[in-house]
Symmetry: C2
Subunit: 233 residues, 2 copies
DNA sequence: AAAATAGTGTCTATAAGACACTATTAA
DNA sequence: TTAATAGTGTCTTATAGACACTATTTT
């Protein structure tokens, strides 16, 4: 009798809330790892592609609609010992969202929320989800420099300062305001002016932009070599 | 009765032979797609990780030893219809090799060889292997600019001109000889001088180098913006 | 000697980054 | 009117790339 491995899809959904990079997690309501934090995800069902599995599980476990997100496969984890029950192979998907509503827990889930990514969090994740999260974050940081993925953290339309804040938080550095502005406006097709202005605080309101058609940034938006550390707050 | 998908690992093994980018393929000896070209690969067996599957299948089908290669997972293909027999999900691995010996076909394989990558080849591949190959090639080209993967195409020790030829063939452009030399020698930890010189043709023999410890090139080695087209031959 | 490739350096155009100054809003 | 942020431009420095010249080998 051959032991067929079962397949799951897990999601690393990132967003920025309260000026911090956060990841969507659930508290498991079932064994194994009952009561522990985990990435949302679950088993492949008949006739589904794995991306469909990911979208379905996201909705079932957290109530979030994957149609608004772009799912990008980031890794596969096939260590025979990674699940204590039986052989389970998982595929991880990365998704990035603007600051969304609070998720609501589905069946078999005790709670779900956005969690700040820090060392403490890594210690508390079920299965090998710390490893999966770490790999996905590394990819997200690489994509930030190479693609226009940064704009997907912002609710459209957004100001250049909101976009700059995204880069500052994820790269953990401080960008020069004027240079950042010149830089992104100099990349043709990166941003599209919406024709409006907007303000979410004191000071002169900035022009509001949408993401342009360009996806590959070809290494523009790399972190400045002489980057200062991010000033907290 | 739930239909469990079965899992395979497929390999995209690239090399440069006869001044051309080539990929390792097999001619299938079994249905489906008997007599057709395909990527080497096969089913996961009990207790294996998928990377172990890839290494084992590579050896069984082509006689090549994966210990000398670095396998990098590049994609997952889970379309329910991708295999005409039954549900099969495959994970693709990219490996890059210096010009190796000829492979020798294993059981269930009619023949195996290195094939030049061109449009004609894509038309003749079994399953969705054209898509898998295409994705892997795109990744390999990206890795060439961002990492030191280019050196793995060269048998150590190698001259800078041999390395330049790799970049020229894969990027399909011509590099200025002097500038390329200055550039790679200027990247600390990229190349290590072996202390020797070598010649494989007329002209002054070049110094022989090995790959240095640096893996991430952080966007150095990008194609020159003003690149001329590669002169054939 | 001629042909071929390796190695080195210089010059120029471009881009990255520091920084200052002006503009426009809220308080 | 002051504080805060947006927008623009200038200057400096670093880097990319063109190109030329020297060096070392085979034929």
């Amino acid at each position: 009798m051959i032991e067929y491995p079962r397949l799951t899809a897990d999601l690393v959904v990132l967003t920025i809330r309260d000026d911090r990079l956060k990841v969507l997690l659930v508290v498991r309501g079932r064994q194994p790892f009952k009561g522990r934090l985990a990435l949302p995800g679950g088993f492949l069902e008949h006739g589904e592609s794995l991306e469909e599995t990911a979208a379905r599980e996201l909705f079932e476990e957290t109530g979030l609609d994957a149609d608004r997100l772009h799912l990008k496969p980031t890794g596969i984890y096939s260590d025979p010992e990674r699940d204590p029950r039986s052989r389970v192979i998982t595929v991880s998907y990365l998704a990035i969202a603007p600051n969304l509503e609070m998720p609501s827990p589905g069946d078999e889930i005790l709670s779900t929320d956005w969690y700040e990514v820090d060392d403490d969090l890594y210690m508390n994740l079920a299965f090998d989800h710390a490893r999966i999260l770490e790999d996905a974050l590394e990819q997200a940081r690489a994509l930030l420099e190479q693609t226009s993925i940064g704009t997907t953290f912002c609710k459209e339309p957004f100001t250049i300062s909101e976009l700059r804040r995204v880069y500052e938080i994820i790269m953990d550095i401080q960008w020069n305001q004027g240079n950042f502005q010149n830089k992104v406006l100099g990349i043709e097709g990166f941003l599209e002016y919406s024709g409006e202005k907007g303000s979410k605080g004191p000071g002169r309101p900035g022009k509001l932009y949408r993401a342009g058609p360009v996806r590959k940034l070809n290494g523009l938006m790399k972190r400045p070599k002489t980057a200062g550390t991010l000033v907290e707050g």
